[in-house]
């Protein structure tokens, strides 16, 4: 029963060509952004499973967005598609010329969802933002969000601006997955206590294969949940996801042998950086996570922090029950 509950049905919907399969392939199937041009239009629904942190499994429904398919999801397949959905991810193409029509379809999807899964979470991605000039991005995004919210009925909706060409992709998907992780507050409490213990400025937990941020604690932030931290780079976690994944591709490309084994050989166990202003490492932590730890300079203390982190693994598993 427990296992079933943690298998979450995630609907991925939006107009054909909006970028649904592109994002899915990059986040979950190790594609790089330039590879997605090879993807064809999705026919009907493509199902896939993504194991995320061991005991959370995403059951992804990538729903091909051509009109005929949309029509059948909303009519003949209505109950089948929309029943038992925990999450709807709806993708809007910022370049679309038919904004009103997109919104009508969205509105129809929302009412079907409300009918069969009224407690589902809804995430709207305003996608392909790279095609908008940087100085107009914020304004155009805000405008589009307002329109989306007026069509969302009373469902609770969270929006993200995204593009496969930069770290915003990772920000959006980490934001979505973050909401689904069980025991999050226990994990955070553990990490905060551990950070104090090793004098860490920051600790970030990443999922192993997607490299999405699971959660983070920052001891430079005033207590409570305030977003204000000493570090002036608010997008640093999604940037780490992006640069780690892209380096992984460099290494995978060159590791000879059957492609599946080369991807795993390209996985790293420990990455260390020592500089005059901070020390940091990223290490394989549990079966399905990497942990990033940033500490003030000091070589001996840094080496201790690495060892202590490795030893904290057992306690982490026991206290959080994450990898049950």
């Amino acid at each position: 029963m427990d296992a079933r509950k943690r298998k979450k049905k995630v609907l991925l919907m939006g107009k054909s060509g909006s970028g649904k399969s592109s994002m899915r392939s990059i986040i979950f199937s190790n594609y790089v952004a330039k590879d997605v041009r090879r993807l064809g239009a999705t026919i009907d629904v493509e199902h896939s499973h993504a194991r995320f942190m061991g005991n959370l499994t995403l059951n992804l429904w990538d729903c091909g967005g051509q009109d005929a398919f949309m029509d059948s999801y909303l009519n003949s397949q209505r109950e089948n598609v929309f029943t038992n959905a925990q999450v709807l991810i709806y993708v809007f193409d910022i370049e679309s010329r038919e904004v009103d029509r997109d919104l009508d379809t969205y509105s129809a999807v929302i009412s079907a969802l409300k009918q069969f899964s009224p407690s589902a979470m809804v995430f709207c991605l305003v996608h392909k933002m790279d095609l908008v000039q940087a100085e107009h991005r914020e304004r155009i995004y805000e405008e589009r969000c307002r329109m989306i919210l007026t069509q969302s009925d009373s469902m609770s909706v969270e929006t993200f601006a995204s593009s496969i060409w930069d770290q915003t992709l990772y920000k959006a998907w980490a934001g979505i997955v973050h909401k689904m992780i069980p025991n999050l507050s226990i994990i955070e409490r553990f990490l905060r206590a551990f950070a104090e213990q090793i004098s860490a400025e920051e600790i970030v937990l990443f999922e192993r294969s997607t490299f999405l941020t699971v959660t983070s604690v920052d001891t430079t932030a005033p207590k409570s949940t305030s977003e204000e931290t000493a570090n002036p780079n608010p997008d640093r976690h999604e940037r780490i996801s992006n640069i780690m994944k892209s380096y992984k591709h460099t290494v995978a490309k060159s590791t000879k042998g059957p492609s599946s084994s080369s991807v795993s050989a390209a996985g790293f166990v420990l990455y260390k950086v020592q500089t005059p202003s901070f020390n940091a490492f990223l290490a394989r932590f549990t079966e399905n996570t990497y942990i990033a730890v940033v500490v003030p300079p000091g070589e001996a203390a840094f080496n201790c922090a690495v060892l202590n982190t490795m030893m904290a693994k057992g306690a982490f598993l026991k206290k959080t029950g994450v990898e049950g």
Binding site: A230, R236, I243, Q274, S277, A280, V294, G298, E299, A300
Partner: protein, 344 residues
Amino acid sequence: MAKNTRQAKPRLLLMGQRRSGKSSITSVVFHKMEPQETLFLESTTRIQKDIMNSFMDFQVWDFPGQLDYFDSTFDTTQIFADIGALIWVIDAQDEYSDSLARLTTTIINLQNTFPHINVEVFVHKTDSLNEDFRSDIFQDVVQRVGDDLNDAGYINPNVSYHLTSIYDSSIFEALSSVIQKLIPELDVLQNLLDTLINNSGMTKAYLFDILSKIYVASDTRPVDSDIYEICANYIDLTVDFTDLYNYPRDDPKSLGEQMEEVESSMTFEDGKMVYLKEMNKHLCLVTVIQNKEAKDKKGLIDYNVHIFQDALKAVFERAWEKTGGEVTGEGQSSARPEQNSLET
């Protein structure tokens, strides 16, 4: 002679027809632009001098549209005196006869006054050409330039040819070989790197210019370009990561002593390790270690790298840092401090 007493950074001049790819090369190599973004570069007709934090100096010239630099009213000394290599960029996807004619004229003129300048021909934009066509074009360029120079009576000018593209590592590798010819101490550096890898069980070691990912030297063991990419991209990884946490702290804490240079390493599931160490403001060492036992001897690696760093410092102090670096005056730089003291 002038070559040996040069005290400034190695200087490169990039020339070629408009749209041949010069600004793209500069942007991709020195400003980290993504290759596909160069499609939006605006064309420039000024001489572009980049001030940058690199081991080398770089200037870009566009033709046609610029002054005729061998016109008698034009001070060629000023332009060419300090140049170590002239890079001539040819668009391999376009008709290049004019470019070749211009190139041979330039080589002939340079031969008279500045015979020490290396001419490096980049047969560029070769990414979309198939293998056969690519080598045909390459042969054609080499043949035609060679014939023209022969006809003019120049048998062995300093001209080299490279196939390049900004869409893969070929542009970095070509620039690396260009820069290496301008480093009089290359042999010494190679020996030092050979010693380093042999003593520490490393597979390969590169001495990189941090900003551009051009390598100034490497050990002499042949490897394929995958290893180069693993090392070069490791610099990006570490520079990008460091940028995210390198902000100035209000009250900087310290948990003890630490070395002054950046050091980084990554260990992989298959046992391989990549190791990086900053050598000075411009240069860093990046190595790949595949030998599992070697990787565990961190003490040995630290020790050998330290020795290498000291030797490197000695080499460059002797070579050009002693006199304070920058060449300020134009012209033949006749008033070098050491030369004066020799004369008195």
